[in-house]
Symmetry: C2
Subunit: 687 residues, 2 copies
C-alpha cells in the first residue's frame, strides 16, 4: 500500500466536493510515487521518493489563444494503467541494451460544464525518475491552436543547490555553469541539475522535443519552477493542430551524481527508430581543418591563410589514414565565409567550393586512403538560405561518399531572421518552435541521403537519436575552442567535471578534446588549455560522443606518438558505461566497455584539486588477466606548472585489483584494459 | 623536487636576514608537504596537498609564566630527518595490523641572543595526514614551568563547512553536531571535521594527550583557528616540569569521508603498549540494568523500584547466559545514589553495596553461568572521593572476578570540585589538565588490577588505548539515552551518520545501541527512538566499540528473537574495517571482518531520506560462496510510520555479487556474510 505524501493529506483535509481522491502511480521498485489530483477543478501533480516530497503540489495545463484556459473546470473521466517492461538495443551509443521498465498512468480530463473540453495526462514512473506529457485531443474550436503558455510547474521541496546556465542569451548554451541555490536563478536552460541538502541528485529536462517550443525554466517565488516555453516573435509559444502530443517533462532522481549520468530515462521516453536500415550509421573518430582557425593561424575565408585548401585537406587525410581516424573535417571549404562571416547567413553556398579547394579530388583522395571527408555546413543562422539548398547540398555529399556533416548556426546577435510568406521579417529565438522545426527538418533530410549529423549551436538534445539515429552528436555547451580564444581565460579546470552531470545528461557532446600543445604563445599568447595532457586523454572516456574529434594539429600529434596511442585505441561506441564515483564540479571517473571487443576504458578527471581515488576493478571479467595501459599525471604534474608531466605504463590487473588513481591538480587519468595475450603473459610473469 | 607553496614564496620575497630558508618534509606518497620556516625569529609552519594550501602560514610556540615567550628570537640550530615504516598489531581493535609509514622532520630552535632558550618541533607526515608536537628541553629557569598559552594556529585555506560541538559547556561533549561554515564557530571541541569547497575532508584533533590540558579550538578572525588549552581555575593552562613533551597536534586529510574514518593516524602517533600481559583484555558484548532507569521504570537509588537488586541482576545474568552475552552491567548497586545523586560526589562508596544487592552472590552466580559482572563506578565528578577509594574499589572487583568497570562523571553543574593541599576549594573544567591527570590515574590503577575501562563523561579519546589497551571504550557524545529523556526530541535520524566522522575519529564509542522497543508510551510518552529496527542492528557495525551493549530490556529482546540473532552474531573485535561510501550527515556504509573468523559484517544507515545504495562485495574472498544473512527495512519501512517493518532473509553471494541496499527513511541494513557450509549449499542451489 502506498504512502500518500503529506501535502496531499493536507489537501484532503481541505477537501471540497470538487476534489477527487488522488490517483497515484508508483515505480517498479516502489520508491518513487506520482500523485495526481483535481483540486477544485484544476489538475495538480506531485512526486515523492520514499514518502518524502520531491515535487510538491504543482500546476498543470495551458493557456490557449481564443479559448478557455485548459487548467480548470476539469474532472477525471477516465484512468488507465499499464506496466511497460521491454529491452531494446541502440544501434550505437553509450550502452547497447537498454531496459525500459516503468508504470504508466493515463488520465483523461473532461470539462466539468462542457464535455467538449478535453485534456489527457500521461505519467510514466521509472525507478530512476518520472516523465509526463500532455495530449490535447481534437475538439471543437481547437483544431488549430496557439498555445500562449504552458502552466507546468515543478514545486521543488527545497532551495536546492543547482548547476545552471541562463536562458535567452546571445551565446545560446555556451556559458560556464553556475552553482547557486535555486533561489538565485532567474530563467535557465534544461537539463537543470540539482543537489538536495540531504544528498539527492535531481535533474529536470524534457524528452522527445518535436514540433514544439524548447522548454526553459523560470523561477517563481522561492523554489517553484515553471515551464517557460521559448516564444515565437509574436509571443505565441506553440502553433499546433489538435490532436497535439507534447514532449515529455522529465524529473530524474538518484542517490549519487553517477546515478543521473547512468540513467537512460530520456532515451526510454523517445519513440523507437524510424529508419529501416541503420547499417550506414557508423560512429567514428575524426581530425580536421579546424583548430588552426581557432588559433588564428588559418582562416575560414579565402586568402593566403585559407585553411580549406586541397593540399591542406590531403595533409590531414594522410595523417588520418596513417593513424586510423575515419574522418577528416574541413571547415571553410565553401563560398560564403569572406568578410564578417557571422553576418553572411544569406550568402553561404553549400555546393560551391572555394577555387583552392577541389571537393571532388579531396573526396577521391580520401576514399583512396580509406578515409571519408566530413562535410561542413555553416549557416550563420541563415535558415531560409540553408533550407533552400538542403536537398542539393546533401545530395552532393551523398554522391561524393560523404557520410557525416557538421552543421553550424553561429548567427550574428542572439536571434534568427525569419521571412514569412508575406515577406515580412521576424526575429526568432534560437530555441523556439521555429528552430526546433528547422533542426528536425535537417535531420530528416539528412536521413534521406544517408547522412549523419554533428550539430553545433544546436537545439538541446532530448533523446531523438533513438528515433533518428543519424542524429549523432551536438555541441550545445562551451567546448574546447573557448580555450583558444575565450576572453575569460577559457574553460576552468572544473568545467569538464560539471558537463557530464549537466549538458551530457541530455545526450552526446562533441567537445573536441585531445589538445596536446596546451600553450600557444605565438598564436594566442593570452590563452592556454587549462588541463594536463593526461586529462585531455581522459576526456575521450568522460565526455561521451559517437563522433569524437582529435582536435589538435597533426604536427602536435606527431610530436607525442606515445600519448596519441590512447586516442587511436579508444573506441567511440560502447556496450556498457558506468560512473564509478563523482562529485559534481570536483571529479568524476567513468568506465566504459568497447562495443566491439572485450576492452574496457577508464577516464578520470579532477578540478584544480589533486586527488587520490581508489578504483576496484570489479567491472572486469572474473578469472581473466588484463593488461592495464595507464596514461597518468606524473609525480610533479600540475596543470599550472607541469601539464606535460605524463607517465605511461602497462601493468597486469584482474577483477581483484584495486587501482589507485593519482590525479594531479587539473589532471586526469586514462586507462585501457585489454585481455592479456600470450605475448603479455611471459614478460608480465617476470615482474 | 617539492613545490613550495605560494605563501612561502611570498614570505621569501619579503625575506629578512633573520628568515631562514623553509624546511620541508613530504609524505611517502608525495602528496602532503609540511613547510617550516623561522620568520624574523618566529617559527611558522604550513601544510600543502598537491601543492595547494591546506594550512597557511601558522604560528607556533608558548607563553610561559615568568619567562620570555617561546615564540620569537629563535634560529634553527639543528635539523634531523628519518622515515618510519613499521607494522604493529593491535591486541584488539577495528583493525588487527596497522602500518605506520611517515617521514619525520625534527627541528631544534635556539634563542638568537641566548643559547639557553630552546624549543624543539617534531613533524610527522603520513599519506593521510600530519602530526606535530613540541618538546621543551630542560633549560635554566624552566625546570618547573606554567604554560599560560599555547600559540599553535591552524590557518585554514578556506571557510570550510565544519561539523562541531561547542566547548566549555555544562553537558561536556554531549551536544548534537552543528554543520556550519568555520566562520560561524566560536570555541569548539576536537575532533573538528571539515569539508572544503572542492571536496577534501579534514580533521583537526590531537594524539597522546597525557599530562597536559585538553586542546579546544578558538576561532580567530576569518577561518584561522588557534589552540585553546582548557585552563586550570587559576588560568594556568599546563603545569609541567621540563623536559616536557606535548601531545601531537593532528591534521587528517582525505578525498572522502571514509578516508578519515579509515585513517589510523591517531593510533600511529601514540606510544606502544605498556602492558606485558594483555591476555586478560577481552572485548565483549554486554547487557545490563541501565535502560530501565533511563525509562524511569527503575531507580539507581534504593527503594521499591531499585534496579540493582540481586534478583534483577540474576534475571539479566540468566538472559546474558542464554544469549551469549559476556557481561552484565549493574548500575546503582552501591551506596551513594539516594537523593539528587548528581550532587553526591563526596558520598559514593565504591565498596559498599545496597542491602538488596548481594555483590558476592551476584558475582558467584555470574561466574556459575559463564558471565562476568561489569562493575560500575559513578563518581558524580567527586574526584577526591573516588581517588581515595580507587585501589580498594578495583581490588574488590579484581577479587570478585570483575574484569570491566564502567565509570561515570555526571557532575552537578559544569565544573568539578578540587580541594587543594591547603584545603582551599577550586572549580576545574572537565577537560583541563586536572581531569586529564585523573583519568590517566584511573587507567593505570585499573591496569594494575587487570580491569578494563568503559568511561562515560570521559576526557576525549586521543588514542592512548594503544599504550593502555585496558582503556577500551568511552562515551563522550550524545548516546542512546537521549532518546529516552532528551527534552529536545532525542537524537535525530542524522545523528548517527555524523558520529563516525566526528566523535568516532577519536576512538571507540559506547553508544549503547540495540533498542527494540522504539516507543515507550507509558514510561516516556513524549519520547521515542528515532530509527527503524533495522537501523538499530546496523549501528553495531557502524559505531565501533570493543564493548558493545545490547541496551534494551530482556523482555523486549525475547519478543524479537529473529532480530536479536544479529546482535548475538555480530563480533566486537575486527581484522579489517572499511567505509564503502558515505555523506556526512546523510548516510554511511561500513564493512568489517571478524577478527576470529572469516565472517564479514556490513552496516549501512541513513538519515530521514530513504536511499538505494549499491555495494559490490569485492571485500569477500575470491572464489568462495557466502551466505548473506540480511536484516533490512521492509518495503513500507519508515522510522516515522513503520519502524518495525523488518525483513530478514538469507541469500547466496560471492565476491562478484553487487548488493542493492534499500534503506528506509531513518532506516538501515545489517548483513552478516558467512562462508557457506555444506548444509547451505544444497538448499541454496535449489533457489
Amino acid at each position: 500500500m502506498r504512502r500518500i505524501p503529506g501535502w496531499l493529506l493536507l489537501g484532503l483535509a481541505a477537501m471540497t466536493a470538487a476534489l477527487a481522491a488522488p490517483l497515484t502511480v508508483t515505480s517498479p521498485d516502489g520508491t518513487l510515487t506520482v500523485s495526481f489530483m483535481v483540486d477544485d477543478g484544476s489538475p495538480r501533480y506531485g512526486v515523492t521518493r520514499f514518502g518524502r516530497d520531491l515535487i510538491g503540489p504543482s500546476a498543470l495545463g495551458f493557456v490557449i489563444h481564443g479559448a478557455p484556459p485548459l487548467d480548470r473546470d476539469f474532472r477525471v473521466t477516465a484512468e488507465s494503467r499499464r506496466t511497460i517492461d521491454e529491452t531494446w538495443v541502440q544501434p550505437w551509443g553509450e550502452q547497447a541494451e537498454i531496459r525500459c521498465h516503468c508504470r504508466e498512468l493515463r488520465i483523461e480530463l473532461t470539462g466539468a460544464e462542457t464535455a467538449a473540453r478535453r485534456l489527457t495526462l500521461v505519467f510514466r514512473v521509472f525507478d530512476d525518475g518520472v516523465g509526463f506529457r500532455y495530449e490535447i485531443p481534437a475538439q471543437p474550436g481547437l483544431d488549430s491552436l496557439a498555445i500562449m503558455d504552458e502552466l507546468t510547474e515543478f514545486a521543488l521541496a527545497g532551495d536546492h543547490r543547482a548547476w545552471w546556465i541562463p536562458a535567452y542569451q546571445p551565446e545560446r548554451y555556451e556559458y560556464l555553469y553556475r552553482a547557486t541555490p535555486v533561489s538565485e536563478m532567474d530563467r535557465v536552460h534544461t537539463p537543470l541539475t540539482m543537489e538536495t541538502a540531504d544528498g539527492l541528485f535531481l535533474c529536470i529536462h524534457e524528452a522527445a522535443l518535436t514540433d514544439y517550443a524548447g522548454m526553459t525554466l523560470a523561477r517563481r517565488a522561492g523554489h517553484i519552477l515553471k515551464a517557460d516555453l521559448v516564444p515565437w516573435s509574436d509571443g505565441v509559444r506553440v502553433r499546433a493542430t489538435a490532436p497535439l502530443v507534447t514532449p515529455w517533462r522529465t524529473l530524474q532522481v538518484a542517490d549519487t551524481p553517477g546515478g543521473l549520468a547512468d540513467s537512460r530515462l530520456i532515451l526510454n521516453l523517445n519513440e523507437p527508430c524510424r529508419l529501416d536500415d541503420v547499417s550506414w550509421i557508423t560512429p567514428a573518430k575524426y581530425v580536421g581543418v579546424w583548430w588552426e582557425m581557432h588559433l588564428g593561424t588559418a582562416t575560414w575565408g579565402s586568402g593566403p591563410r585559407h585553411g580549406a585548401t586541397t593540399a591542406n585537406a590531403k595533409r590531414y587525410i594522410d595523417f588520418a589514414a596513417g593513424h586510423g581516424f575515419g574522418g577528416v573535417l574541413v571547415e571553410g571549404w565553401n563560398v560564403g565565409w569572406d568578410g564578417e562571416w557571422t553576418r553572411n547567413g544569406d550568402l553561404f553556398c553549400f555546393t560551391r567550393p572555394y577555387d583552392d579547394f577541389d571537393l571532388e579530388e579531396v573526396c577521391r583522395y580520401a576514399a583512396e586512403n580509406g578515409v571519408r571527408l566530413i562535410g561542413h555546413h555553416e549557416t550563420a543562422a541563415g535558415i531560409a538560405n540553408y533550407e533552400a539548398q538542403l536537398e542539393e547540398a546533401f545530395a552532393l555529399y551523398e554522391r561524393l561518399g560523404v557520410r557525416t556533416v557538421k552543421t553550424g548556426y553561429v548567427g550574428y546577435g542572439q536571434q534568427i531572421r525569419r521571412v514569412d510568406e508575406a515577406g515580412r521579417v521576424h526575429h526568432e529565438w534560437h530555441h523556439g518552435q521555429f528552430m526546433v522545426r528547422h533542426y528536425r527538418k535537417v535531420v530528416e533530410a539528412a536521413a534521406r541521403h544517408r547522412i549523419m549529423l554533428d550539430v553545433h549551436e544546436p537545439i538541446k538534445d532530448t533523446g531523438i537519436r533513438r528515433t533518428w539515429p543519424n542524429m549523432l552528436s551536438r555541441e550545445g555547451a562551451r567546448g574546447q575552442e573557448y580555450n583558444a580564444w575565450g576572453g575569460d581565460g577559457g574553460n576552468p579546470p572544473d568545467h569538464t567535471t560539471i558537463l557530464p552531470f549537466t549538458r551530457l545528461l541530455a545526450g552526446p557532446m562533441d567537445f573536441t578534446p585531445g589538445i596536446f600543445d596546451l600553450h600557444f604563445p605565438e598564436a594566442r599568447p593570452g590563452n592556454r588549455v587549462n588541463t594536463t595532457l593526461a586529462k585531455q586523454l581522459a576526456l575521450y572516456v568522460v565526455l561521451y560522443s559517437p563522433l569524437q574529434m582529435a582536435a589538435d594539429l597533426p604536427e602536435n600529434y606527431r610530436a607525442r606518438p606515445d600519448a596519441l596511442r590512447f586516442i587511436q585505441d579508444v573506441p567511440v561506441d560502447w556496450r556498457h558505461s558506468r560512473v564509478l564515483h563523482a562529485r559534481i564540479g570536483d571529479y568524476v571517473t567513468f568506465v566504459r566497455q568497447d562495443r566491439h571487443s572485450d576492452d574496457w576504458y577508464l577516464g578520470s578527471i579532477t578540478d584544480d584539486q589533486g586527488r587520490i581515488l581508489e578504483v576496484p576493478l570489479d567491472f572486469l571479467e572474473p578469472g581473466r588477466l588484463y593488461v592495464a595501459e595507464i596514461y597518468r599525471d606524473g609525480p610533479a604534474g600540475d596543470w599550472r606548472t607541469k601539464p606535460y608531466d605524463l607517465e605511461i605504463l602497462a601493468q597486469p590487473v584482474t577483477r581483484e585489483t584495486t587501482l589507485h588513481l593519482r590525479l594531479a591538480p587539473g589532471g586526469g587519468q586514462a586507462v585501457r584494459f585489454r585481455p592479456a595475450t600470450e605475448e603479455d603473459i611471459h614478460p608480465l610473469k617476470e615482474k
